[in-house]
Point group: C3
């Protein structure tokens, strides 16, 4: 099987946008780290030292950053020079992985009434898909993932083990006389667009009256919490254990580090970067593509570093 999926270095060069050239013969069937690479494996190198390790390894193909070329000691027919070596390596890995697993629904999965499953969907053991859910093509629901009723997934969505989608939001109305809390209606829905990937044991609440929405291509790590009515844009990245409170907006291309906290009704603007552990107060709007914010409360990195320095050197 691996032979069928094997690719020559000349084919790789075309695929990753490298120059045509005199490449080593042989066929690559897998990606690897230099320590475990043999002639069937491709490795990658972004820095000079990594390139030295790659050249010293038995790898059959080395995807190396073009910027390293001028300083490379000698030519090696295994090297394919590319603009973005790590990205090219990931591309190659996807190509070698070939077709996705065949569609399958594990016998222990529980599929509710009126569920629509697209072509090529893989449903793992112990998964629960509530009534009326719509699951797009080639989605992968891994072991014990739970979709509450009515959740909508686009195509190629990956939900890792134990993640819970469409849970009841945390909204209550307080009885001013007794101090008791009454659940505010949580009858909205959750929509996950195409190519979203969701980590293990992450939780995303459905909307209260409206909807919660996760935009196309957004990637979410493990143990993340996203509250009801949040709207996340496209290609957002959210690292582990970050929490976003209800009704907040995260715009396209924002990057949130681990353990970030975002209050209610806040906005993280397009392309904004929140450092690990940053905290955004309720109602705040953080703006500026490429701008890095840090600390609690989150402030521009420069300001954060100045505050730290002040604390030290008075």
């Amino acid at each position: 099987m691996s032979e069928l999926r094997g690719v020559t270095l000349a084919e790789i060069a075309v695929r990753v946008g490298a120059e045509p050239g005199e490449y080593a013969a042989g066929v690559v069937t897998r990606v690897a780290a230099p320590e475990t690479a043999d002639a069937s494996a491709a490795v990658f190198a972004m820095e000079h030292e990594a390139l030295q390790r790659a050249l010293a390894s038995g790898a059959g193909c080395i995807l190396a950053s073009r910027k390293l070329r001028p300083n490379a000691a000698a030519s090696d027919a295994r090297v394919v020079w590319v603009a973005e070596a790590r990205y090219a390596f990931a591309q190659l890995a996807h190509q070698l992985a070939g077709e996705p697993e065949e569609a399958s629904i594990h016998a222990t999965a529980v599929i509710g009434e009126g569920v629509s499953l697209g072509a090529g969907v893989v449903v793992g053991p112990g998964v629960v898909v509530g009534a009326g859910c719509v699951v797009g093509r080639q989605c992968r629901l891994e072991a014990r993932a739970v979709l509450y009723p009515g959740v909508v997934l686009g195509d190629r969505v990956v939900v890792q083990a134990g993640a819970v989608l469409g849970s009841t939001g945390f909204g209550y109305a307080r009885n001013p006389q007794t101090g008791e809390y009454l659940l505010f209606p949580q009858q909205g829905r959750l929509v996950i667009e195409d190519d979203v990937e969701i980590g293990a044991n992450t939780t995303i609440d459905r909307g209260a009256l409206g909807e919660t929405r996760i935009g196309r291509g957004t990637k979410i790590d493990n143990l993340v919490h996203i509250g009801h009515n949040c709207v996340l844009g496209r290609n957002v990245v959210i690292a582990a254990q970050t929490g976003i409170s209800g009704s907040s907006v995260v715009e396209d291309g924002a990057v949130l580090g681990g353990q970030v906290g975002v209050g209610e009704h806040a906005t993280v603007g397009a392309g904004v970067i929140l450092g690990g552990g940053a905290g955004v107060l309720s109602g705040k709007k953080m703006r500026g593509p490429g701008e890095v914010f840090w600390g609690r409360p989150a402030r521009p990195l420069k300001e954060y570093l100045r505050d730290l320095a002040r604390l030290k050197h008075r």
Copy 2:
């Protein structure tokens, strides 16, 4: 069915404690946001702008804060003026929802020996209820919730998907010679009182020698951790990703924001409010009903703001 549950505006007015009056005819069968409201739906408004949106919508009933009445442009027979519009809206939603789901135990649930299940209990797919658990009336255990053996739930407790109740506490004794750790006995129990609601993938450990207890009416969000031997009072609110270390006490009516951390053997006093991300050191006692604490270590809001200002304007 919805016809049967429909209520007139005059009935709503009585129910929510509004004045009797000349209300619009028609029957309300559901609650909604203004954007999706038609004549069958009730909406609510707490502020002037929301009221304008509600009046412009097709909603059949508008639960509006009484304080907005003097400035309302004209009378509209759809408006029911109430002291607490959001609370009234939640009340109405519960009334319209009618009877809870019928009792049921999903075929894939695993119920241990000697378990007692009260009337009207709903047990979802993949739920595990350990031996000897006691589950009160009308509890709802959602998909894949786990109760370790011996956990006791009162009535109307809701456990969302993936939550784990009664897990082994994190207490170890260290061998001073080898540096190895030996589990301290974790043989206590976990008691959850009536009307507690617990979020998805939250974990609550059982007591070590004594018990862990969650008081009546307390509401806990997703991915919260509560350690062994903690005692939480009544009507406590705990937002997502907050963690409470072992043997701490949270008294009645306290409100903990998201990502709060509470050390061991600490006390969060009755009615205390901890802002998102606040940290309470082990052994500390935070006191003062209605007092707001913020930061790490947590301090009164005023002090926290002064500290922040000092850092900036020297």
Copy 3:
């Protein structure tokens, strides 16, 4: 059965390294807190007050810290004086618990192809063990734990309910043209060594190209996240909701409090103690056995306290 496992005080004294002496007759079959102790129960005391409570209780055996002896009012034949009373108490509890549960695989567990299960393994309800996993002797996989394919566990590993081991790491390559993210290959493995204990709903990712490894005797609390390629040493302790980003190292005997955050490619040195909520920046190396670090960014406790004081008393 408890009779068979009962031990006399003289036997206990030998076991925990106490002096031989004139101990009370009778047999102990369980450990307990003073409030619930009768003649069949052992309790422990580390401080004077606890000793008073223990002496006033009906406990049949009192494991007390030797350092309390000079001030003890009178001799009591129930007291066994030991160097480490809490450790001795934990030892006794383990001894009384006797043999581990018999090996068993719950009918609802899903065991993949080519899985190797050691002698005495207990697999709980709803557990999923992926293809090719190796599970050592006397491991306990509790309800709904998930092992992705190829995960390797040593002997006596405990995995609590809902924990996910071997999930896909959070590594992506960004397409600089489109801003879209492509999963970096996550094909490595996860190795958990002997005597590791893992809390409920914790997640540990497998390696990207290499491996993630958790060293022998390490204890991990609930809702912890450990990223791909992390290497944890022996007898490390990690409290709840702590997160360790990819490719970081935590050396032998380090202690991480709750909600700690460790960036990528960081090192927490042998024996280092990180206070609750501490944050270690990416690439940082924290060194010094027994050294306590606190705050974000983490700094030596003394420095952290000085910074706090400066903020207050200017």
